[in-house]
């Protein structure tokens, strides 16, 4: 097997992350699968950061347990990361920074600073020196790196031919240095592999692509880590495809304006993180009550309050399921990987439109920044489900203009009384009522957050409230019946079950694979839709095993609480909440303890 996990530790702002990005992209273009993990401080410049990339000729499910190779660009990086280097791994360091203690690892000393400063005479090239050493020792070939750097520089304002020359000099100098001064005694060597048709992108980028494909044509948001790139992507792309964008003054305004656009028949979205999501709750209730579609991305970060803005946590599940006062049905979806970020955001738009309610899309910090290589064939043209009552107008969206348009409709001036008696909120067996849209020749109505009758007129009669509550919740039942069930992964006759949610799926499946190889009878299930829950599939799974482990990156065990409340499950809780995702090894240990 051709595989290596490389971790680079350094200072934020000195090219650690950008060097890692280049390595990942170059390896992917060379034909390898890649999967990255990074940490960075909340500060703009300075502070410790690290970048880890797992490079393999086989599909990768997690970030890897330990680094095979650790490159430390300063003493602090060594102190922070050395415990994560595997036994017998490789440590690369600059002897002018520090001298490592003796340990169970191979050491290569490379004078990064001296090569950059004295030989290349441009200290900025230090990360190129590092990449040159990686190429020389493990692969990929220098040319793969050069190609990526060239394409990055051609898009940069700093671009000039001298800088590119210096970069190439730095790469070559480091490669030459390692071949002349070091004796390779490690087993890691990435050989040539067949090229594959893959794309390399992170979760936020996949969400933008999916939203555009789903014909989202209005976005409003307020900057917040780690969701801002979604807003920036939509700001840039929407005008290119006929949509509009508004940076709101706060998150309440962001979701309010999304509901305004949605009322106008346009597919609309906002994206935020926990603190912004907290502010949006009044509008989630309005979306549910007025039955207006809206897609809300919550890129979860470590909480509560301001918490740790750049750290990973899965702690908004309980909140997403219940945010807001009163009983307000909503759909909650949690993607597991980059492919899901694309396909499930499309599903989120279709579910919002079909069931006329808010759809909360729970990604997290690790997924927003995780770069994966993904088969290009996954990114297909989206199937678009029109709103009930708007099918005839759906074709308007295809030409890239905003969803509904008045073209070809008679302009109405003052309509008859019966028009305002249109049953916008008609009781139906599915709970889904026809929805009309201004400017399309469909009947006028008033959407309201007040309890209302079938026409949308305010109505506080007990019978009406009961019937309306039941109608709104009936849509969730319809959604549960219409959605696909999650599939079981692993042993058909398992005695140990693992249930997870969100970005941990690959890590759990890798742990299941490793446990199966060791002879454990184990299987896992990973529901992507968490409201409505796929009751049948989960109950069958729970009943089929003796014990259920629920690993979650949060303190309180939010999925375990939910499964306990709904199915009486006494789960074995495995909680990690330091801001770093699980490794497969950690989940494997939990399985071993139970088995």
């Amino acid at each position: 097997m051709n595989e290596v996990t490389i971790r680079i530790g350094g200072e934020s702002g000195e090219g650690t992350i950008s060097g890692g990005d280049i390595l990942a992209l170059a390896s992917a273009r060379w034909g390898y699968h890649v999967y990255t993990f990074r940490t960075f401080p909340a500060e703009i410049l300075g502070g410790p950061c690290m970048f880890q990339v797992r490079i393999s000729d086989r599909p990768i499910k997690s970030m890897g347990d330990n680094a095979d190779v650790l490159i430390c660009l300063n003493k602090e990086a060594y102190d922070r990361n050395i415990s994560d280097l595997r036994h017998g791994g490789v440590l690369i360091y600059d002897p002018s920074d520090f001298v490592p203690e003796a340990g169970d690892y191979i050491t290569y000393a490379v004078p990064f600073n001296e090569i950059a400063r004295k030989e290349i005479q441009l200290f900025q090239t230090k990360n190129m020196v590092m990449l040159g050493a990686i190429c020389g020792l493990f692969g990929p070939p220098i040319e793969a790196i050069v190609q990526v750097v060239q394409s990055k520089l051609s898009k940069s304002r700093k671009s000039n031919s001298t800088l590119m020359e210096k970069n190439i000099l730095a790469l070559d100098a480091a490669k030459k240095y390692v071949s002349e001064h070091l004796t390779k005694s490690d087993p890691y060597r990435l050989g040539a592999v067949e090229k594959a048709d893959r794309v390399v992108l992170n979760g936020n980028q996949a969400i933008v692509a999916g939203a555009l494909a789903a014909q989202c044509r209005y976005f409003s948001g307020y900057p917040i880590t780690p969701a801002s790139d979604i807003m920036e992507g939509m700001a840039k792309e929407l005008p290119q495809v006929g949509g509009t964008f508004l940076q709101a003054e706060d998150e309440m305004a962001a979701l309010a304006s999304v509901l305004g656009a949605s009322y106008g028949g346009v597919r609309a979205m906002t994206a935020t993180s926990g603190p912004g999501f907290s502010l949006m709750t009044e509008l989630i209730g309005l979306s549910s009550m007025a039955e207006l579609p809206a897609v809300i991305v919550d890129a979860q970060r470590s909480g509560p309050s301001t918490g740790m803005p750049t750290k990973m946590e899965q702690s908004d599940l309980s909140f997403a399921l219940h945010a807001g006062h009163g009983d307000a049905p909503r759909i909650v979806i949690a993607p597991a990987d980059i492919e899901d970020c694309y396909n499930l955001i499309i599903q989120a738009f279709n579910m919002a439109e079909r069931y006329q309610m808010p759809v909360l899309f729970l990604t997290d910090q690790s997924l927003t920044a995780r770069v994966e290589s993904v088969d290009r064939s996954i990114f297909k043209t989206a199937t678009i489900q029109p709103r009930v009552g708007q099918e005839a107008h759906a074709s308007n969206g295809k030409n890239g203009s905003n969803g509904a348009s008045a073209n070809g409709h008679q302009v109405l001036v003052g309509a008859g009384v019966e028009e305002h008696s249109y049953s916008r909120y008609a009781y139906t067996p599915t709970g889904i009522s026809p929805i009309s849209t201004p400017g399309t020749g469909t009947p006028a109505y008033v959407a309201t957050g007040l309890e209302h009758d079938q026409h949308g007129h305010p109505d506080y009669e007990p019978e009406d409230h009961v019937a309306m509550m039941e109608k709104r919740y009936r849509k969730l039942q319809t959604a549960a019946e219409e959605m696909a069930s999650p599939e079981r992964y692993g042993d058909k006759n398992a005695t140990i079950g693992v249930i997870g949610w969100g970005s941990t799926e690959g890590t759990i499946q890798e742990a299941v694979d490793r446990a199966l190889a060791k002879g454990y009878k184990v299987a896992s299930m990973h529901p992507k839709v968490l409201s409505p829950l796929p009751d049948r599939a989960l109950q069958d799974f729970i009943n089929s095993v003796e014990k259920v482990i629920v690993p979650e990156c949060n303190y309180s065990g939010q999925l375990a609480n939910l499964l306990g409340a709904k199915y009486g499950l006494q789960a074995i809780r495995v909680n990690k909440f330091g801001g770093i995702p699980f490794t497969a090894g950690e989940i494997l240990r939990a399985i071993e303890e139970v088995g």
């Binding site: 893959r198 794309v199 692509a209 555009l212 494909a213 014909q215 044509r217 005008p239 495809v241 006929g242 949509g243 509009t244 964008f245 508004l246 709101a248 003054e249 706060d250 309440m252 305004a253 962001a254 309010a256 304006s257 509901l259 305004g260 656009a261 009322y263 106008g264 509008l283 309005l286 007025a290 989206a382 030409n399 203009s401 008045a406 409709h409 008679q410 302009v411 109405l412 001036v413 003052g414 309509a415 008859g416 009384v417 028009e419 305002h420 201004p438 400017g439 399309t440 020749g441 469909t442 009947p443 006028a444 109505y445 008033v446 959407a447 309201t448 957050g449 007040l450 007129h457 305010p458």
Partner: protein, 281 residues
């Protein structure tokens, strides 16, 4: 079936929902003025959306036959702006009271003014919280005794016209609900104005703070000869605490954000996922 009325009358805009307001409420005058203003403009009920927040006056959309969106407290402005950005061909009005626009939603007013999105705002100001039965409002006068200020209001009074003038709002006007024809004319002009139009309407609450007599005396048409492009003069009129001037204080045509956004869209092409993903190869 829908019917087309070539020469609409105000009653063509009236819905079958009966207003919930107290007898004598100023908001009746504003509602009738809205019917009249929209009829004069021959606006289509299909192309017109009235957005509101929460409060007595925010029930407004239910009483109209146009499209309407009765939202949550304070958020009518962002809802209306989102709708106008996404559907610029629609006529969008945001209506509500002094609590909605100057207290819980005051933060939105600042940004709506800066963006100059082409919507028309009608504030029905009664200087009191009516729906919650008589607490102080940002526009209540200093010293005013209400249920929530039993020892008199300790804060100073909010000046709506002076505030929006300072925010560079592009159409600033005031009317008095007891003069519905004048209010109708302001609604008409506000809707016609391309940009963010702000119409402050004195609309008394006979139940919790009857200001009819005071405003009958104070409401004074803006002196003839006032130049609506003279912001300094407009500010002088706005700062007068004895008189409540009515009419157009200030008007300036300038680019709107919805227009600018839709000019950007003119070069747009249909989205093509295959083409789009090339950047990530």
């Amino acid at each position: 079936m829908t019917q087309t009325v070539i020469n609409p009358t105000p009653k063509d805009y009236k819905s079958e929902v009966k207003p919930t307001w107290c007898p004598g409420c100023g908001d009746f005058g504003v509602l009738n003025a809205a019917f009249r203003g929209l009829a004069n403009l021959k606006l289509s009920t299909d192309q017109t959306v009235v957005v509101s927040g929460i409060g007595c006056s925010s029930r407004f959309p239910h009483f109209m036959k146009t499209f309407g969106f009765h939202t949550v407290h304070g958020r009518s402005l962002p809802v209306a702006q989102g709708l106008k950005m996404a559907r610029p061909e629609l006529t969008v009005l945001a209506v509500g009271g002094d609590g909605d626009f100057f207290s819980i939603g005051a933060g939105h007013l600042v940004h709506a003014a800066l963006r100059n999105i082409d919507i028309t705002v009608v504030v029905m100001d009664n200087e009191i919280y009516g729906l919650t039965k008589g607490q102080t409002s940002p526009t209540s006068p200093h010293g005013h005794v209400t249920k929530s200020t039993p020892y008199g209001l300790l804060a100073s009074q909010f000046n709506p016209i002076a505030t929006v003038l300072s925010l560079n709002v592009s159409f600033v006007a005031r009317g008095y609900s007891a003069k519905p024809k004048d209010v109708a004319s302001l609604v008409e002009k506000g809707v016609q104005h391309k940009g963010f139009s702000f119409i402050h309407v004195l609309s008394p609450c006979p139940t919790f703070y009857n200001t009819f007599n005071a405003w009958d005396d104070a409401a004074t048409p803006i002196p003839q000869g006032h130049n609506p492009s003279d912001k300094g003069q407009a500010m002088m009129l706005a700062m007068d605490t004895e008189k409540q001037y009515t009419g157009i204080f200030y008007q300036q045509e300038r680019p709107t954000m919805d227009q600018a956004a839709h000019e950007l869209v003119q070069q747009s092409k249909p989205f093509d996922i295959e083409q789009y993903m090339k950047r990530y190869v």
